[in-house]
Symmetry: C2
Subunit: 272 residues, 2 copies
């Protein structure tokens, strides 16, 4: 039987826990894996827990009882999260990002794995305690971000198509009115893509009037899904009344002035 | 000055290295971070390297010289990769996956973060030595997979739109002929989304005749990009002549028989 030194166990346990966020591992699992006493494993885990806590780099949660164990929650400290969101707001407020029509260029940021994996963990933190079966988004730009949220929750992603080009058997389509442009559009989801009565969290990169979000909500009703939350990376201050009531936005876009070449955007703090 | 125990350093170094694949860290970086002697850090890294190697769970590469250091490469052993791809082929060969028209339902698999993060690492392994600036894909289904490849390479993702709904300033559009359906379609990419003369790797989930891949190649020419490689998760055996010459496919779809309800698909081994 191979014996592992503590330092070796540290490397592997850290790797296993980090690569499987939210997943519960029993003491027995690690004791078997390393052929070590549960008391040693318990000490190992205490070191991992303290080290992560000391550096604000995620939490190791210990759950007591028969179904208990430990699991890694990829949450940074609220201070780290805020300073990250503030740096993001600063990046996004560069006047070079203003596009014709008063849009904001965000593509480079929302397609960057390093950045969106951090945003994914922030959403998981702010939706802490929710236990979704799926993360749901609508194509195209929100997909990378939604995938990283799914990764932080360790659940699959579901992508709603913004047309009816669904080639996956029978599908449910709904029409929705884009809140800002008042245009009628279609979104579709294959029946087999989402089990009936699932619990879901909806994620999108941007929200103005909330028409798309409302469409997603309506489509979820068709699948009898329970919407545990709606998260958007950036939402506009105006219009203040959105077509959806409850949402969690990380950055508020206050204004884009095409003439003055000025973008005002600020990070929202939820842990105060 | 805070002192760290070896076991604590193990936890943090493993975390830092794993979360920043491909990125080089000098001994000095860790020595400063932990206020420890370079000789101790060097021993720490040797333990991490050996432990990862012993379990086939990724490599710690040591680069000598002034610009040297260590970096984590998220590559599993060829045996682990093959057995993973074989299990994937088995999952995909379930007759329930046959869709009307002889298509294969893969959405649940290609939207699952746990599965595609492994596939992303496999692509990074098989394209080892290439040094892309971007991973490029075309919407919609290939996006999650391409993002995980980008994550394994630690570079940004670029998403080509399959229409001309680009709202990011001036864009380049091309027409391409879908190889199997002979339909003419459009794909577009905003000028600012990809710097001229970048090095790119193209990723897609599925390839039949290669029309979409050919379109991506043509669009890359417009950006004077150098295509270092083209990776597809699943490619069909027929037609044997694709519209693109060089591609790296992980799974070969040999046949789908709608009447017999039979799917034949096999994993390809590149390390033999």
């Amino acid at each position: 039987m191979e014996k592992w030194r503590r330092s070796e166990r540290m490397v592997l346990m850290t790797k296993i826990l980090l690569e499987n966020p939210q997943q519960m591992f029993t003491l027995g699992y690690f004791a078997d894996f390393f052929q070590a006493a549960k008391s040693s494993i318990s000490e190992d885990l205490a070191i991992i827990k303290d080290t992560l806590q000391k550096t604000g780099q995620g939490q190791l949660e210990t759950v007591a009882g028969a179904a208990g164990g430990v699991r890694f929650l990829p949450y940074h400290s609220p201070e780290k999260e805020m300073s990250f969101l503030e740096s993001l707001a600063e990046k996004l407020s560069s006047p070079e990002r203003i596009l014709p029509g008063g849009f904001l260029y965000m593509t480079d940021i929302i397609y960057d794995p390093t950045i969106i994996s951090k945003i994914g963990a922030i959403f998981a933190h702010r939706f802490q305690g929710k236990d979704p079966d799926y993360i749901v988004t609508v194509q195209t730009k929100g997909i990378p971000l939604a995938l990283m949220v799914a990764n932080a929750f360790n659940v699959p992603l579901v992508i709603i198509r913004d047309d009816s080009k669904v080639t996956e058997g029978s599908a449910v389509s709904i029409s929705y009115v884009s809140g800002s442009s008042k245009k009628i559009s279609t979104m579709s989801l294959a029946r087999r893509a989402l089990k009936q009565e699932s619990k879901v969290i909806l994620i999108d990169d941007f929200m103005k009037a909330g028409g798309t979000a409302k469409g997603m909500m309506d489509l979820m009703k068709e699948f009898r899904a329970e919407v545990l939350g709606l998260g958007v990376l950036v939402y506009t201050k105006e219009p203040e009344r959105k077509l959806v009531n409850n949402y969690l936005g990380l950055l508020e876009l206050i204004s884009i002035d095409e003439n003055k070449r000025e973008v005002k955007i600020k990070a929202k703090n939820f842990f105060i």
